[in-house]
């Protein structure tokens, strides 16, 4: 899941200050799961912005709508009937969602209300943690399902570094040592021998070395 957090209200209000008719647009997927941009958060932000406008005596139209996904054109097209009513869209989608809406409606400013953070997991209620860098060449098999790039603070492929204490990372005693987790898991799987292999430096060309990435699946295309 892609995680995000709402930008400070002052920043949001600054970016929409010059518009009179604003659609606050939520996204019902990843950002809803991380309680940043779902229907509920969209309603809260719209309500807060309307109150702020009233307190300033400004006549501004602020409405809200939530798409199931902002990053899929089949859903974004649902704005076709309403988007002409607005000067700007304040999007609570992730960066991909904001850009997908902007690509479909280039004549309307699509303004981000969120800071997109990382690929992660809902660890507990109200707790999201990063566990994938989207490197384009998954190595989780070798490390017992724990990514050393995302979960070792030093991104070591050949760890551990030796700095951990009681299973915690030396950068912060609250951060679990990724390599301790890897070793514990491989031990559980009776697969510690995988660590005898020396892993070469990561080939980052599969991440962003070749520019923006894309996936083409002809069997999925029309």
């Amino acid at each position: 899941m892609i995680t995000a957090e709402q930008k400070p209200l002052d920043e949001i209000r600054g970016t929409i200050a010059s518009y009179q008719r604003i659609l606050v647009l939520g996204c019902g997927s990843c950002v809803a799961e991380c309680a940043a941009g779902g229907e509920k958060e969209t309603g809260m932000l719209a309500s807060t912005l309307r109150m702020a406008a009233k307190m300033e005596g400004r006549e501004v139209l602020i409405r809200e709508k939530t798409l199931e996904r902002q990053c899929v054109k089949d859903f974004v097209i649902l704005l076709d009937d309403v988007i002409h009513e607005y000067d700007a869209v304040l999007s609570l989608g992730c960066g991909a969602g904001v850009q997908a809406v902007a690509d479909m409606f280039p004549e309307v400013p699509i303004i981000p209300a969120l800071n997109t953070e990382f690929l992660g997991e809902t660890k507990d209620q109200g707790l999201w943690v990063e566990n994938c860098l989207g490197c384009g060449d998954c190595m989780l098999y070798h490390f017992g399902g724990i990514c050393p790039l995302a979960r070792c603070s030093k991104h070591l492929l050949n760890g551990p570094c030796g700095g951990s204490v009681d299973g915690k990372c030396e950068i912060n005693p609250e951060v679990p040592c990724g390599w301790q987790l890897i070793i514990d898991r491989l031990e559980q799987h009776h697969a510690l021998d995988r660590l005898e292999h020396i892993y070469p430096p990561k080939d980052w060309s599969k991440k962003q070395g070749g520019g923006p990435r894309k996936i083409i699946r002809e069997d999925q295309q029309r």
Partner: protein, 163 residues
């Protein structure tokens, strides 16, 4: 700064006579509050008229920030929540969740310059829990010093100007 509105400022603005409109309280309450049945609710709303809008909820943990914000946006000068005593929530931690949500919503309204004190929570007492009517009366007394919400003040002024 907008976020530094305090009770003192609220009262100071009230003393300057910033508006004489009567205040409206949106009061959300856990249905486990004593004497909070439908008959009592109707009697209280009859007694206080438009000064009090009551919203029963099955547990204060059901409360969502959007409920408080919508109340402040649409009609209320203050929005409060009555919860069960600490450790006495029928659903274990509903009241503690409500507390956190109210605190976060207070931060939100402070960011747009609305006083944090316009949102509040009253945790009922474990010994001799108070009835809904008693707590409602206490809250109404407590907010009586507030000036009307600035959310409505500008709009009202603008309408008067237009007419």
């Amino acid at each position: 700064m907008e976020g530094k509105n305090t009770m003192a400022q609220l009262k100071s603005r009230s003393r300057t006579g910033a508006g004489k409109r009567h205040l409206t309280l949106a009061l959300f309450y856990c249905q486990n509050t004593p004497e909070s049945g439908e008959a009592e609710r109707q009697a209280l709303e009859g007694k206080y008229g438009s000064s009090l809008r009551l919203f029963p909820i099955p547990c204060s943990g059901r409360l969502d920030p959007i409920h408080l914000l919508k109340a402040l946006e649409e009609f209320a000068d203050a929005a409060y929540v009555i919860t069960c005593p600490e450790g006495a929530c029928r659903y274990f931690e509903g009241n503690m969740r409500a507390k956190k949500r109210i605190e976060r919503t207070r931060d939100t309204i402070a960011q747009i310059g609305l006083e944090r004190e316009r949102l509040g929570m009253v945790m009922n007492t474990r010994e001799k829990p108070k009835a809904l009517g008693v707590i409602a009366s206490e809250i109404l007394d407590g907010i009586s010093a507030f000036p009307p919400s600035p959310v409505f003040a500008k709009r009202k002024a603008s309408k008067e100007k237009d007419s």
